[in-house]
């Protein structure tokens, strides 16, 4: 990098991102008892704890009644067989 930095962050991919490849979680939430549990987005996290917290602070547009995170690798696509899940956003 051409710009000189005094103390650039050194981020350890393996520890801080959960492996050689980053680890993703999909986020699901329910607004109130009358609403379905819906997909609201996706977060990257190296462990379940950080996935929960990051999801909570990023998808805080509502006071969710319920929220959960699912590791992306656990999602099995049905209509898009063989491809990775492309739910990701919204």
């Amino acid at each position: 990098m051409a710009t000189k930095l005094k103390s650039k962050k050194k981020i350890d991919q393996k520890r801080e991102r959960g492996g050689a490849e980053p680890k993703y979680y999909e986020v699901f939430a329910r607004k109130d008892s009358h609403s379905d549990l819906s997909h609201v987005g996706s977060v990257e996290a190296p462990n379940d704890e950080l996935a929960q917290v990051r999801a909570w602070y990023i998808y805080d547009q509502h006071k969710w009644r319920e929220m959960c995170v699912v590791p992306l690798e656990s999602i099995i696509t049905v209509t898009e067989e063989g491809k990775s899940a492309k739910i990701k956003m919204g």
Binding site: K9, I11, D12, K14, R15, E16, R17, V43, E44, A45, P46, N47, D48, E49, L50, A51, Q52, V53, R54, W56, Y57, I58, D60
Partner: protein, 259 residues
């Protein structure tokens, strides 16, 4: 978080007020820690999480100041009328974090100790107080989880683990000191304002604070003998005045814009 008055107007027990102010001021400083350190965050979602914890802590401070203001205090004075010698934040947060590991240790110990203290008021007879304590608990749940997530990451690095241990050895006694002398007086409990004895909260804090060992996968030293010398301000739960450098960060600026 909005404050709903319970029994406004009544005068509060002095020691109870001191405890509330110690929690509020410590959280004010903690909020500023998050604000000052957010750009040190190590991932994009962490920037958002740190700002979320920043907002939550400021919210707790504000709710407590508002409660005190409903009971004879001047809100403006509480928020921006006090000098460094009147601030009641924990010594734990005086010194700026020396690195990411120290940041995680210090913020975690602060979240944990202030929550312990606040939890003593969950059954307070004034529903406003119980409500504030409950809200602090609900939000701190996520802040503690954030730390726990990081313990695991730090624990996987040798150098990071030793930095964590060093920071812990340095910060833990400062956190414990906030609870006051082990066999000190417990006037708030004696007066029936807090149904849990302080000693029980202190012990619970020690036990919880040792819990990091498991996620970190390494031993931690808990130095428990603390000397309470002459300049201990029991009412403020701290030694001396807030250092000038920190006060300059924490103090509210642009007073003429206050509303």
């Amino acid at each position: 978080m909005a404050y709903t008055p319970g029994n406004p107007g009544t005068k509060l027990d002095k020691n109870f007020e001191n405890d509330l102010l110690a929690i509020a001021d410590t959280k004010l400083v903690l909020g500023n820690w998050y604000a000052e350190c957010v750009m040190n965050g190590r991932s994009l979602p962490d920037f958002a999480a740190i700002l979320g914890m920043c907002t939550a802590n400021y919210g707790h401070t504000r709710a407590i100041y508002q409660y005190l203001a409903a009971h004879g205090h001047d809100y403006d004075h509480l928020e921006r009328g006090r000098g460094p010698e009147e601030m009641c934040s924990a010594n734990l947060l005086d010194e700026a974090p020396s690195g990411w590991e120290d940041f995680i240790v210090s913020t975690w110990l602060t979240e944990l100790s202030t929550w312990m203290m606040a939890s003593g008021f969950l059954n307070h007879e004034d529903r406003a107080v119980a409500g504030i304590a409950k809200k602090i608990g609900q939000e701190t749940y996520f802040h503690l989880k954030y730390s726990q997530g990081w313990f695991q990451i730090i624990g996987e690095g040798k150098k990071q683990t030793s930095l964590f241990q060093k920071a812990y050895a340095h910060r833990f006694p400062l956190a414990l000191q906030w609870f006051g002398p082990a066999r000190g007086k417990d006037t708030v409990h004696d007066a029936g304002i807090r149904d849990v004895p302080l000693k029980k909260l202190r012990d619970a804090f020690i036990k919880e604070a040792a819990g990091a060992e498991k996620l970190l996968g390494a031993d931690l030293t808990q130095e428990k003998s603390i000397k309470f010398a002459d300049d201990w301000r029991g009412d403020a739960r701290r030694f001396g005045a807030m250092p000038d450098g920190l006060f300059e960060v924490v103090r509210f600026k642009d007073a003429e814009l206050a509303h």
